[in-house]
Symmetry: C2
Subunit: 125 residues, 2 copies
C-alpha cells in the first residue's frame, strides 16, 4: 500500500475484508459498499471536516484483507485509539455466511498517513 | 437473481460491474463502493422517498455483471426510462485501467420489482 500512487489524496477510506470468510468477489464487493455507505453516513452525522476533503480528493477508497475477526477487531481498536471513525458490517446472512457475521471493518475517511499507520501493512483485496 | 431471498427488501440498489475489464476482486469492490456512495449522495440530494425505505430495509445491495460498456449504457437508458436514479463510475485510472474508464453502473435505490425488470437477468458478480 505505501507504494500505491495516491489520488491527490490526503484523505482516504479503508475497507478491511475478513479473509477467513473467503467471500466471493460479489459478496465482498457488497459488504465493502455497505461499509463505505455507513462511514459516509457516520461522517455526515458528525459533520466531519474530513468528509469534504475526502470528496474533493475523489473519494479515495482502498480494499484490503485482514486474516481473522480478531485481527479486524484489533485494527478497529487501533483506529479508534488515534481518533479515526470506524464501522463494522454485520451481514444479514442470507447467503454464504450466518446472520450477524462480521464481514468488513471500515475506517475513515481520514488523513492518509494516519490511516496508513493502522492498515498500511495489510495486503490488497 | 429472482431466486435470491430478499431482505425484507422492497427496495434495493444494484451495482453493475463491467465484465470485459476483468477487474480484480479488490478493484471491483472499490468501484462498487464508489457507485453505492454516489447513489446515496444522489438520493439525499433529491430527498428521494425511497432512501429511507431502503435504509430501513437494511440497505440491500446486489452486485451483478454486464459484459460490455454498450450493455451497461443500454441498462442505464432503460433504468432512467422507468425513473430510476443511475450513476456511472469513472475510474481515476491509477491502476488496472486507463483514466476515465467507466467501470460500474449504479442503479437505485428503487423498488425491487422495478429494479429487477432492468437488471434481473444479469449474473451475480
Amino acid at each position: 500500500m505505501p507504494s500505491r500512487p495516491t489520488a491527490g489524496g490526503a484523505y482516504k477510506m479503508v475497507l478491511v475484508v475478513r479473509g477467513e470468510l473467503r467471500l466471493t468477489a460479489g459478496k465482498a464487493a457488497v459488504q465493502v459498499a455497505h461499509a463505505a455507505v455507513m462511514l459516509y453516513q457516520e461522517a455526515e452525522r458528525r459533520r466531519a471536516p474530513t468528509l469534504e476533503a475526502w470528496l474533493a480528493g475523489g473519494q479515495k477508497k482502498i480494499a484490503v484483507v485482514a486474516p481473522t475477526l480478531d485481527a479486524m477487531l484489533e485494527l478497529q481498536r487501533t483506529a479508534r485509539g488515534v481518533g479515526l471513525a470506524t464501522v463494522l458490517v454485520e451481514d444479514a446472512g442470507f447467503t454464504e455466511v450466518a446472520p450477524g457475521t462480521k464481514t468488513v471493518l471500515g475506517i475513515g475517511p481520514g488523513p492518509e498517513n494516519e490511516v496508513d499507520r493502522v492498515t498500511g501493512g495489510l495486503p490488497l483485496l
